[in-house]
Amino acid sequence: MSADMEAAADVTIALEGGRKFRKNMTRSRIHIAMLGLLVVFGVIGARLVQLGTAETSLSAGGQARSAITASRPVIYDRNGIEMAMDIRVPSLFAEPRRIIDIDEAVEKLLPELPGVSSAWLREKLDGEEGFVWLKREMTPAAQERIFNLGIPGIDFVIESKRFYPGGNEAAHILGAVNVDNQGIAGIERYLDSEAIKVLQEFGLARDRELEPVYLSIDMRVQHALHTELVDALERYQAIAAAGVIVDVRSGEVIALVSLPDFDPNVPASALEEGRLNRVTAGTFELGSTFKTVTMAGALDSGLVSVTDEFDARAGIRFGRFTINDYRGKGRILTLPEVYKYSSNIGTIRIMQAMGKENYRAFLNRIGFDDALPIELPETKRSAIAESFSEVGAATASFGHGLSITPLHMVSAVAGFVNDGYQVPATIFMRSEEEARQLGKQIISPETSRYVRYLMRLNALEGSGRLMNQIATGYMVGGKTGTADKVVDGRYDTTKNLNAFASAFPLDDPQYAMIILVDEPKAENEQSGRTAGWNAGAVTGRVVQKIAPMLGIMPEFSDMSDAALVPVELQSIDNQTNSQGE
């Protein structure tokens, strides 16, 4: 620049000013250029951050990479028995563009891949693709053999495969995972919606030891229940059977079986028709098991007392319909008799004494309108009318015209016998202290005592006698329900859905159970088709098996039964006894 200055000695002030202006302008324009580049690099940085936080769901070879190697937590039962675990298995893939001699590759591979046609394999290996699966989840021995063939462009990925040692036994609890290790049903799906999904979003679930999950299930009890229900399907030629046992104090589900079931190790079978989880995802008209609910509600309302008597001599007319009793007594019945003989007429009168609005409110209070609190994704809402008509309330009192899931019913029964304190059901471990904070009082402890007495009475003298014969000593009590199934909009008297909702031991209630048998046939000529013969008998056999496992001592004296009888009725019993003597 110095040369310019000297050469232009006579330069004008104007030119000098222009030059200065230009010089400053270049400087300010460089500023703008810098800003522009900063914006460009800023956008690039932001994009990198965005990609870093993005969900890594992109695929390699058509499969989600992250899912392939993603591990899932081990699932244990309440005693630490493994219900589900990961095993590492090799999967075979090819990189067609690296395959040198397709003929050779096909020829060598074919004997190692049973059930694969030569044409299919050739088509897979031909082309310029970078990744094609040939066979997922092989044995290590097959891997070794293929590896030793030394074919270029053929390689293995070690995948995590979910394995369920129990097979079918806890199928509906565990659910299943698909080939990419994503939960598609049951608790596996629930886990995906929770912890694992969060981890996978941050790309941290790869090859990582995950915290094991402990379920409330007791696999020994689960096994017993499963065995008995499989036996029931066979014995009664039923189309389906289901059962669930809950701990009344903690709400923990101890066992849950729904048949027909599936093998979680063969996940495709989980989605077949008719294999739904009937305990949580099936709603049914549970019939006379509802009478326990009606009794509990009526007694708790204070409008009905346990000593009241009800006229069951004639059927009750509602317009064109008349509701009658099945093998009715045709006389005035006391409240315990109404329950014991499962009188529809008596139950309607009890409900009417309570009032249909009160009855509807009671159904709501015991959680029949709520969604199931259980963690399984397969659940269904109840179908109960918003408000009852006269006839609607009448049929509802003995369990018709409204449908709920079996788990709703067992939760209600659990609450009734647990001093009226209902704890929401769960599939995970829960302490009793925790349960104390979660639950709510649905009936008073006094009413709870009446209900326990009634349930036990039905086992001793009513439709639960067969059950009680099988499970003598374990103080089981419960109510049968034999509901005609609705076929094409009409009740079909030849097809029944039978249920038995029970609790044991009733001198110190610990477990509540419901057993469902769908369309049972009579076991032999002597036996009947009603619930006591099948659902009841199954309940008896299950209790007989599981009570010793659960540490419940049998009690063969009548002392405990006598202690269950309410004070109001004790005097009458004593009178009749003394009269008899």
Binding site: M1, K23, S59
Partner: protein, 386 residues
């Protein structure tokens, strides 16, 4: 050797060159080496070379590149101009040569065989043109009667025509962009800038209709589902696979399927192994180099030095930015390398030459200080005198 007591050329160079920029450039070269280890072995295997084919060649070019970088930074402004002119003329001759003797790779004649090596002359045209055009602009500003701008414009048209005949759309964009940057820095009015932006968009639209490969790339960028965007898809996969911390050296899987993992897509291929945090550091380093070079250019009193260094810095920043944007699927594929990082001997040497010239042009000028005894602001002093 670097003692200040004796005035050796090396000592003078050491105390006047911008050591931060030099360090950053050498660091970037090292990054390129590390990324080559991550990204190129699968490509080499796929192309049938030995595993370390590209790594070894990358390393072999590293030494001459550093020599060119440092050597060029020794030049004075005048020598820089002369060497740029020689390189430009040589490269243009070769560029014409590619059209005649060129080797066709992937549908374009961009390479010429030269003593057993393939050379891409367009790589050398870029920095040389930037320096010569800057000189022409500086001359025009000092002597308005010289038709320097017209000559510069003629050069742009000539080079663009040669590049488009290859065809090499990416390099054309960079050459034209450096010319536009110079126009902008030289103080062209905003009206003309607006008109040029309009012309550029027009040119883009024209390219879309004239060059089928450009149209294809843009189509598949706009409709990811339909088009043939295999490269970009695989590149993104590789990036995502790595996550924040990468899968570790040799562990990434997706990079195996990134086609140009050693060249245009080296960034995303390596990101799978080293992770996004590492990538952010790399982007930061490139940004530092561009901004540092522009800041230094801004401080130059010599108009030619200021314009030349800025044009080179903008070229470097723009090329890196476009490559990164393509890698991150922010822009359609262009066929542009990441300077100093992508594999390519010609590109590496040419970038070293350009960056060396930036260092040369932005050296603190001892001759000015020594001549007058007044440290800085000589122009201001002269103005005060008049």
């Amino acid at each position: 050797m670097f003692s200040r007591a004796k005035k050796t050329p090396v000592a003078e160079w050491w105390w006047t060159v911008d050591r931060e920029l030099l360090g950053a450039l050498i660091l970037l070269l090292m990054f390129g080496m590390v990324l080559s280890f991550a990204a190129s072995p699968p490509v080499a295997e796929r192309l049938g070379f030995s595993t370390w084919h590209f790594v070894i060649r990358h390393a072999l070019f590293l030494v001459p590149s550093i020599i060119v970088l440092v050597g060029a930074s020794f030049l004075s402004a005048r020598q820089a101009r002369v060497s740029a002119l020689i390189v430009l003329v040589g490269a243009l001759v070769l560029l014409v040569g590619t059209l005649v003797f060129g080797i066709e790779i992937k549908g374009a004649k961009r390479w010429i065989s030269f003593m057993g090596q393939t050379v891409q002359p367009s790589e050398f045209v870029k920095p040389a043109f930037a320096v010569i055009a800057a000189w022409l602009f500086a001359e025009k500003m000092k002597h308005p009667d010289v038709p320097a701008r017209t000559i510069a414009f003629g050069l742009v048209v000539f080079i663009s025509a040669l590049l488009l005949l290859q065809p090499d759309f990416g390099q054309t964009v960079l050459v034209v962009a450096s010319w536009v940057a110079l126009l902008f820095l030289a103080g062209i009015s905003w009206w003309v800038i607006g008109a040029l932006i309009g012309a550029a968009s027009g040119g883009g639209v024209l390219a879309y209709f004239v060059f089928p490969h450009v149209a294809r790339r843009i189509d598949s960028f706009l409709n990811p589902g339909t088009g043939n965007n295999y490269q970009v898809e695989k590149a993104l996969q590789s990036l995502l696979e790595g996550g924040w911390f990468g899968r570790g050296p040799g562990e990434a899987l997706a990079r195996r399927y990134v086609p140009d993992a050693h060249a245009d897509f080296v960034f995303s291929a390596a990101a799978g192994e080293f992770g996004i945090l590492f990538s952010l550091v790399l982007v930061g380093l490139i940004a530092f180099i561009s901004i540092r070079a522009l800041l230094l250019a801004q401080q130059q009193n010599n108009l030619f030095a200021r314009l030349g260094a800025s044009a080179l810095a903008i070229q470097f920043g723009l090329q890196s930015g476009i490559n990164l944007a393509v890698n991150l699927n922010l822009a359609p594929p262009k066929g542009m390398t990441l300077p100093f990082v992508s594999y390519g001997g010609t590109s590496m040497l040419a970038t070293a030459f350009g960056m060396g010239l930036i260092l040369a042009l932005t050296r603190r000028k001892p001759e000015e200080r020594i001549a007058t005894g007044v440290p800085l602001r000589r122009g201001d002093l002269a103005q005060n005198a008049t």
